[in-house]
């Protein structure tokens, strides 16, 4: 992408700096967006390789390739890398690229802080990765880092904790920047209720980030002082309570999963109307539903801990509060479906991924409702059923929508068209293999296979083998995406793309009024016409 942007911008007064240093010192929202997206793509393959290790070990019962300690390091690191290294940075990258262009702003509100967020992220992830090579291995307690187990981590513990601190600071800075951009940098006439849904969902997500990341930083700091400074927050011997950690963690953890899904909703709400050639159905209800989901995410945390021995009143409260989330989420799924209803739909790759998202995310949502039922959750807790549930809400939801966003905006970013045939192939391979990968895990979970174990009873062998085969195909299929990204940056099909790229897209959002690729600096004078087709 760099070469392309540079070429087209040679005539510009304030083009990018020359050479590689440009990427280190840049404060341009498009450059930083590119850095975030490419870094996230790289981490997607790193985290994916760890998932391949897990699926290879689980291909057959018995111990095959890795020892149990390393296996558990893999489940832990896979989750941390995917959450903090891939999905969150990918959405921050989209926010950097798209929010200023969507609201008619010249750049993010705080460009230098923007640069700092990115490089803190890289430092955090490198620090996390370094724990793999330390005495005692990387953390192996699961990404939730529950004490007392996590306190048995070897030399890696303080490094993992500092890495969480860095990643947290990076996310907080991004969140502050996004809020400031959306509140203060909108073009005249771009009222809050005219903003594209992607901007709305990110505004709400940014508030979640600044509310929860500090709590997580506090929780891991308590782990640190418990281990090294003789405090007893979670240590029963000193009068602490390990269950307290779970309460604090999930006060962060539940909104955190919505940090990954709300921007997903935003991108889906952006793509579906364009390919249905209709305005988004129920724009304002989408805004309120997003806000409602964000609010509810703060009051349902203990549904992750139904089995810790809560009294019945607590179980009932968290059960009903959790079920409430199905209402605003249902509003959203209804609106996406209604947007497609009687639309003049075409099925380019971004739309295919978006439709798969609507269907498969809904499935993930339904298994979530099953687990919201406290008495039923005792059967599902810590089994492969929960693994299937949250992977359905993350892989064919967040990851698919990130793919969709890539296909949707790559022509805008690069000025080149991707190869539609390979895109379609990538989609069909992904959508089939992702179901082969995760659907059998429901059966494994219901039959009682626990999560985070390297070996299992023979009755689970068949479904695990099928799941692993799905996993290998899914993993390999993603190399097609990597190929498409590189190919499109280098010129794609050679077809010249218009500013609009997709038919009538400019009626939906401002970025399609700019040339493809957009010049290095855009909207230095604010736009005068605000598109309203999406409302």
């Amino acid at each position: 992408m760099s070469a392309v942007v540079a070429e087209h911008d040679d005539h510009h007064d304030h083009g990018p700096a020359k050479g590689l240093l440009r990427w280190v010192i840049t404060t341009n929202h498009k450059d930083i967006g590119t850095l975030y997206l490419l870094f996230a793509l790289a981490m997607f393959f790193v985290g994916g390789s760890m998932a391949m290790v897990i699926r290879a070990e689980l291909f057959e019962p018995g111990m095959q390739f890795v020892n149990p300690q390393f296996f558990n390091s893999m489940t832990t690191m896979h989750a941390l890398v995917m959450v903090f290294g891939a999905v969150m940075p990918a959405f921050v990258g989209l926010a950097n690229w798209m929010i200023p262009m969507m609201i008619g702003a010249p750049d993010m509100a705080l460009p230098r802080m923007n640069n700092m967020s990115f490089w803190l992220l890289v430092a955090g992830v490198l620090l996390l990765a370094s724990t793999l090579f330390m005495e005692g291995g990387a953390p192996a307690s699961g990404w939730t880092l529950y004490p007392p187990l996590v306190l048995q981590t070897g030399k890696a513990l303080p490094f993992a904790i500092f890495s969480v601190h860095l990643l947290g600071i990076s996310s907080i800075l991004s969140g502050i920047n996004i809020i400031a951009t959306i509140f203060n940098m909108r073009a005249p006439g771009m009222t809050l209720m005219k903003m594209p849904m992607f901007v709305w969902t990110w505004l709400i997500t940014a508030f979640l980030l600044i509310a929860i990341m500090p709590v997580f930083a506090g929780a891991v700091t308590m782990l640190l002082t418990d281990k090294f400074f003789h405090t007893s927050f979670f240590d029963a011997a000193g009068g602490g309570d390990p269950v307290l950690y779970q309460h604090i963690f999930w006060f962060f953890g539940h909104p955190e999963v919505y940090v990954m899904i709300l921007p997903t909703f935003g991108v889906a709400s952006t793509i579906i109307p364009v390919f249905a050639r209709k305005p988004l159905f129920g724009y304002s209800s989408m805004v309120y539903a997003t806000a409602a989901i964000a609010f509810l995410s703060f009051i349902v945390w203990a549904h992750h801990m139904f089995t810790v021995g809560m009294p019945i009143a607590g179980e009932l409260y968290f059960m009903y509060a959790t079920m409430l989330i199905a209402i605003p989420t249902g509003v959203k799924v209804f609106n996406w479906t209604a947007t497609m209803w009687k639309g003049s739909m075409t099925f380019e790759t971004p739309m295919l991924f978006s439709i798969a998202f609507v269907v498969l995310f809904t499935m993930g949502g339904f298994t979530g409702l099953m687990m919201a039922v406290a008495p039923a959750d005792f059967q599902y807790h810590d089994t492969y059923f929960i693994v299937a549930h949250f992977h359905y809400t993350l892989v064919p939801a967040s990851v698919f929508i990130l793919m969709a966003a890539g296909y949707f905006w790559l022509p805008k970013w690069t000025g080149h068209m991707y190869d539609e045939r390979i895109g379609q192939l990538h989609f069909w391979l992904s959508v089939v293999s992702v179901n082969v990968l995760f659907f059998p895990q429901h059966f494994l979970g219901l039959a009682g296979m626990p999560r985070r174990i390297p070996d299992y009873a023979v009755q689970f062998a068949d479904w695990n083998m099928i799941s692993s085969i799905g996993g290998f195909v899914f993993g390999a299929s993603q190399l097609l995406f990597l190929y498409i990204v590189i190919d499109t940056i280098k010129g794609g099909t050679g077809e010249k793309v218009t500013a609009e790229v997709w038919e009538d897209a400019a009626k939906h959002s401002l970025e399609w009024t700019l040339p493809s690729p957009p010049p290095y600096h855009t909207f230095t004078t604010p736009p005068t016409v605000i598109p309203t087709e999406h409302i």
Binding site: P106, L110, N184, I210, P214, V215, M310, P311, A313
Partner: protein, 180 residues
């Protein structure tokens, strides 16, 4: 970016940084809040950490509840720890004393603390202890073993459905972290 936007940004950033610091504090505030909530609502089955005064209840001779005793040590605690009896049938309202035996297996002074737990959690508020070795840290001389009593009563107001109560203690070696 003109000056007024810069000022607005600076003001908003100050507010948001304040929110971030506030939420960091809130994370720590959850620690006492959690205890307060458990205390106010009686949730969680936390056991009272200090002795209650001995008051007399009307003894309910028609009712019998089994109280079981469990003792546990983790591998890092070099002790012997057991209760003299495994279980006892009690009448609600009547006081009982049960002896526990703990012994330091090392040649050094040991400071240890027993952490109690009651199951089911909801009966914790009806289970009163007037004397327990778990109320404070216990210091054992090298190789010292001793018998320590627990005196308790089950409040007769305990709901009818509870027929068994399990009282569990885990001894932790606090020698290193103890202030003594």
């Amino acid at each position: 970016m003109n000056e007024s936007v810069k000022q607005k940004n600076a003001k908003l950033v100050r507010i948001l940084v304040f929110v971030v610091l506030g939420m960091f504090g809130f994370g720590y505030a959850l620690v006492p809040l959690y205890d307060v909530l458990c205390e106010v609502t009686g949730l969680n089955g936390k056991v009272e950490p200090s002795a209650v005064k001995e008051v007399s209840y009307v003894v309910d001779k028609n009712r019998e509840i089994t109280v079981e005793f469990m003792t546990a040590l983790n591998e890092a605690t070099p002790m012997v720890f057991r209760s003299e009896i495994k279980k006892i049938k009690v009448h609600p309202g009547e006081y009982y004393t049960v002896n526990f035996y703990a012994e330091n297996k090392t040649d050094k002074v040991m400071v240890a603390r027993a952490i109690p737990s009651i199951s089911p959690g909801a009966v914790a508020e009806f289970f009163k202890k007037t004397e327990c070795f778990c109320f404070s840290e216990q210091t054992f001389k090298a190789r010292e073993g001793r018998t320590m009593p627990v005196r308790f009563v089950v409040n007769p107001e305990i709901p009818k459905e509870y027929k068994t109560i399990t009282l569990a203690y885990t001894f932790f070696d606090n020698t290193e972290t103890s202030v003594k």
